[in-house]
Symmetry: C2
Subunit: 372 residues, 2 copies
């Protein structure tokens, strides 16, 4: 560690929202930022050039998936994920913890690490905290995440406490295992829905010392209010001169609320997954493209949007593609939804820079109410 990679650029005078930059080996990332998810070394349905055009600054790769296919050693040979997938901007990789946790009965967690079976062929595999770091180093991630254990919702206090303590012991081992590559390593604050556990976890991780701090185990089924409560009661205990990352979140509303509470970084499969299911995000809310009301609708998805899809295609055409199960439906819908997320973040950054984020937040909700 050679100090924080984070530089503060602007801060709201009314809430915890802030603008900054995170310095990485592949350049600086302006925050608050949304990171499109590229699980298997590709963001589903779009090319790296599409991502650049729509304003993606950094993407996420999934260590679990890449570890089991095609394997991190193969990817290392190709110059890491950047060379393998033809993307020259920053990449963050998760640690695999969340995916392994999702395997449920296929996974066995011990002090040593996570034993699990591949969802592809059932092969028995093992990932220790040290392995997780070494795999991510091989992947060439600009930002690596510590291996963590996830806590289901609901979970009793004892279970949450044990899992959080294990996550923090693993965090220490990850910190020790990292090499001097210039790749950043973020800690992950667990603690379930217990704010005192989260606070304690945050303090312990800060003592170990990371390049940034993530909030894990949120948006796992708990009520929205509870997620926001946990956020509000954890962020204040993280060092304000380091980046804060809310993992796996979320809806456009979640991004606005996260920023309001001091979050700098977000990732979620929602824009791409919903695109493939025909659900499009617009400035006035959601639009389900297969709806028959769009059959002969000449308008673009969102008249306020200037993405490639909205510049060239009507709702009627997008509906036709979706009904016809055409590949282009996925491509055009994904471009639109990712553009929506990335421009929302650009608008948020502009609002914070001009210290009008609180107004921006109000207008964001008002527009949805008016048009829905």
């Amino acid at each position: 560690m050679t100090g924080s990679p984070f530089t503060l650029v602007a801060a709201s005078s009314e809430c915890a929202a802030r603008c900054g930059e995170v310095a990485t080996l592949h350049g600086a990332v302006k925050t608050p930022v949304f990171m499109p998810v590229g699980t298997q070394a590709t963001v589903k349905g779009v090319t790296p050039e599409d991502l650049g055009t729509l304003g993606a600054q950094i993407i996420l790769g999934n260590t679990y998936h890449l570890f089991i296919r095609p394997g991190h050693e193969l990817i290392r040979e190709f110059g890491g994920l950047h060379g393998f997938m033809h993307w020259d901007r920053p990449i963050l990789t998760d640690s695999g913890g969340f995916q392994i946790f999702s395997l449920q009965e296929l996974a066995k967690i011990s002090e040593q690490g996570a034993e699990f079976r591949s969802h592809l062929d059932g092969k028995k595999l093992f990932l220790s905290p040290e392995d997780a770091v070494h795999v991510q180093e091989a992947l060439g991630a600009d930002i690596m995440m510590v291996l963590d254990t996830c806590i289901p919702y609901p979970a009793d206090r004892e279970e949450a406490g044990k899992a959080t303590a294990l996550t923090n012991r693993w965090a220490g081992r990850c910190r020790e295992a990292r090499s001097d590559t210039g790749q950043l390593l973020f800690g992950i604050v667990q603690g379930g829905m217990y704010s005192d556990l989260r606070r304690q976890a945050a303090e312990e991780l800060v003592d170990i010392g990371f390049d940034g701090y993530a909030l894990g185990g949120l948006s796992v089924g708990e009520p929205k209010e509870l997620m926001l409560e946990m956020l509000g009661e954890t962020v204040p205990f993280l060092p304000s001169d380091y980046p804060v990352y809310l993992m796996g979140v979320g809806t456009p509303e979640d991004l606005v609320e996260g920023v309001y509470r001091g979050v700098d970084m977000f990732d979620c499969v929602m824009p791409t997954r919903n695109a493939r299911n025909g659900m499009l995000f617009t400035s006035s809310g959601r639009l389900v493209i297969k709806n028959s009301r769009y059959r002969d609708d000449h308008r673009p998805v969102d008249e306020q949007c200037n993405c490639y899809t909205c510049r060239h295609y009507s709702r009627a055409y997008l509906r036709h593609l979706f009904q016809s199960r055409e590949l282009l439906a996925c491509q055009l819908n994904s471009i639109h939804n990712l553009h929506y997320y990335c421009s929302l973040m650009a608008d948020i950054r502009a609002a914070i820079s001009e210290d009008r984020f609180a107004d921006f937040r109000k207008a964001f909700y008002r527009q949805r109410e008016l048009k829905s």
Copy 2:
């Protein structure tokens, strides 16, 4: 009809190969040309911009599919296929005959036209020769095709003769039904595998008078030699100052042989369909990307290719995408295969222009033998 849309630019001194231009409402098409197939108002897996970049001059739409979904009247409202799908170069539409024929027991052919049931919802529909023209006029096709009846292979002489005669009566009705829109209308020479029937059909169609002439009912299961024989025995009876189109063909070898025998235009789903199945065309033959030998192959699909896919991605990455069933596999493979087809045609045009097509043809086969 106001004379032929075809202008001869160059002709081989050794065979029937020739270069020309076909003038359409959306500009001139340099021939010989390959037309990517955009069945449902999209060429599967690529954007119109991709098509432009890889050198597609003209694409094909399928009247049958567009007639049943989303409907030609809807497409007319959007400025025809061009406006609907955001493509400003020429479009050729087939007449629907081949698809209706493929429905087999769902279709009933009478003197009036084709009665059939939609493969989507079983709804009973009817298409007369006049309807086929009016639908294609609504679609805004630059080149329309007459409604034809297809002849299975094998077919006895009587069956082939009857179907061919009906096709030609329908051709006359299509010719009468067309409006004065400037859209071109091509006749289709049937005749099964009987060269005298094909010759007679060609002569009758020429008497009616079309803007171009297509060979239908080839590559329907007959031996390759028989297809080439039919080609060789039909093209000479078509007027040399009009474009000649071989429908639904074919492999790269078929294109070379078709050009050799005087064909100007081709279309086929092969490059896009094979792309989705992981079969890639290269200057030295075919490559099945899922093969484990490509697991860590750093080379592009084809070292002689300068398409987007070959410029940026390794075989190993493409294999990974294919194995992972990622959308990007379809996109990148389709771009490569379509680029292969379009550049093959560009190379053929250059060879004919410089009167070295016979040599080109020899080298084309030699390269495949050497590297296979």
